[in-house]
Subunit: 350 residues, 2 copies
């Protein structure tokens, strides 16, 4: 129950995946059913493969997702990781019908809150919700923050091929803003209209398609003016900001021009200003010191958080990466724990 004793800076890992058996079982049904979703490729491999299947042993992420308090805690101890901020792994509840999604989100949130209560210094949690039932989602979002004391929300990008620029989802955004709780937009495979050239060569998921999907989602929200309606909403995106920090000059320049000539909606702020005000990013899956340095120089050290992406990425190199990264002590403290404490309302270490 105590924090890992490393003598080093506190380490809060911010994009750490878990699941519960009920969701895993329901995803197996989804995989076996009819669907054109590009998620089926990877989700099938995780939830519906057998020990005899090729590749199973090398991609047995399911055990790592379902275990939280046993091997995971030991691995955290071994490598000096103080806390995982847990979130129900992609695609979350967003491939289920709205009723099932609502029920399973609540169940997963209850379990998550229990884990966090048992290990308050080791685990925090981002709650799930069913975006396709927006009003029930808003109620659940209030329950998990006020009653369950969870730390924010997880959303796995599009929901049945629709994005948060669509006003049907805005009750959820309104709730998040009112609760002062951040929404982490995590990848899932690209939506139907975006998946065409991403179906081959393993490009559907983390190699490429995930970044296309979430980057598109974030730009869509900014260009649509979502943050004029919800100026205090904070969105977190992983994978070093899904490359948006690197694209920012061009997005900003071209959006400004598009507004002038009537090809993009007028917005109160520029894209660069929205990204700086309404977004924070994490390092999940991008253990590149140059990319980290770039992002901090671009956005400021108070906008970047460390993450592992457990169990999809191994813990040890993620720890070595952040330990060796060319950061000042102040920057390292912000990236490793202070930003996470502020954004996800986690108590500072005693």
């Amino acid at each position: 129950m105590t924090g890992a004793t490393t003598g080093k800076v506190r380490k809060i890992a911010t994009e750490e995946a878990f699941s519960i058996p009920e969701v895993a079982e329901a995803l197996k049904d989804v995989v076996r059913g009819p669907s054109l979703s590009l998620d089926k490729l990877l989700v099938g491999g995780i939830y519906d493969s057998k020990p005899t299947d090729e590749g199973y042993a090398k991609m047995s992420f399911l055990d790592g997702l379902l275990d939280v308090e046993d091997r995971r805690l030991k691995e955290m101890d071994r490598f000096g990781v103080d806390m995982h901020i847990l979130s129900l792994t992609a695609p979350g509840v967003q491939m289920f019908d709205a009723d099932t999604a609502t029920d399973l989100a609540a169940l997963a949130n209850d379990r998550l809150a229990e884990i966090c209560q048992r290990h308050p210094t080791r685990f925090a949690g981002l709650a799930s919700f069913a975006p396709h039932s927006p009003k029930r989602a808003a109620k659940e979002m209030e329950r998990v923050i006020v009653d369950l004391k969870l730390n924010g929300f997880i959303l796995n990008s599009h929901t049945y091929d629709e994005y948060l620029d669509d006003q049907k989802f805005w009750p959820a955004l309104e709730a998040a803003e009112a609760l002062g709780a951040c929404i982490y937009i995590h990848p899932r495979a690209a939506s139907y209209g975006l998946k065409g050239p991403l179906q081959d060569y393993g490009m559907d998921s983390a190699m490429w398609g995930y970044g296309v999907e979430v980057g598109t989602h974030a730009v869509k929200m900014m260009a649509a003016g979502v943050f004029d309606r919800f100026p205090k909403l904070t969105i977190c995106i992983g994978h070093m900001g899904e490359a948006i920090p690197f694209w920012l000059w061009r997005i900003n320049f071209m959006n400004s021009r598009a507004q002038v000539i009537g090809r993009a909606p007028k917005t109160e702020l520029s894209i660069a200003e929205y990204f700086q005000r309404n977004f924070v990013i994490t390092t999940s899956g991008v253990e590149d010191p140059l990319a980290l340095r770039y992002s901090i120089d671009k956005l400021g050290a108070d906008r970047v958080m460390w993450a592992i992406d457990y169990p999809y990425q191994p813990t040890e190199p993620a720890v070595q990466f952040i330990d060796a990264a060319p950061l000042s002590d102040q920057e390292r403290a912000l990236v490793c724990h202070q930003n996470a404490e502020r954004i996800f309302r986690i108590a500072p270490a005693a």
Copy 2:
């Protein structure tokens, strides 16, 4: 006919657009005809708008595309730009039927060669070809390099929604490799299967969709193993490498894993190795000193070339950007002209 006299380092701008009246007229017909192409949004604005249309005056790129030897040369002189490497602007000939495309590519190449011959120190040229007629394309590619002495090739990403991983296009790749001539993959709007969420808010073109399209194209080629078949082929991509330099750690890690578990084809080299060996990038449309510094630190100063993206981007800030960028003299010489001289076989300044 002489180079601009600046007293500064020679400046060769590497992604500079032009057109000819015949192609502009044919594109107007394409815009007015039936097509689901996402390119119609922007192409219509450029080729089929009237002076009375809203936004026309602010987006009158057509004049800048059709003029090469008058105002363009004056602007180059004014801001100390020694040379434009010209290429037929997107979507090039790739929205025409194969016969029309083949004919118009040859016509545009002839005109381009004449311009370069009249101003050998001010203009070089990348030749067009019709990828959807691959064998005729290969013949034209030989003609423009051997007979017309042009400097490389331009391709505007997908052709009727297909990419260069498709072996039907490989005669063109074989020709480019045999000729030792680089192919510049320039953006056009995303292919049919990729365009779904890119249709609103001006996201179809340079603000976002162009990068999604060309980045996807480049990753597709590497992941498919195209460069095992064409190890000496050089591909140039603009817009600071379409963010692939920033994504490289993750693409490489995930592709390696995908190969191990059988989700991606086995290739001889890693993605990072292909990108380093077979790709060069330009700065077009990304006038961000941090992104330039990152790219040079990641890829080496011999893989990055300066560009303006005339007439779509203004000349003066592009020049100011590269003059002020935090580069050593050696790096600046490489980025401003030496790399372009080597890759596009341009004679060094006398």
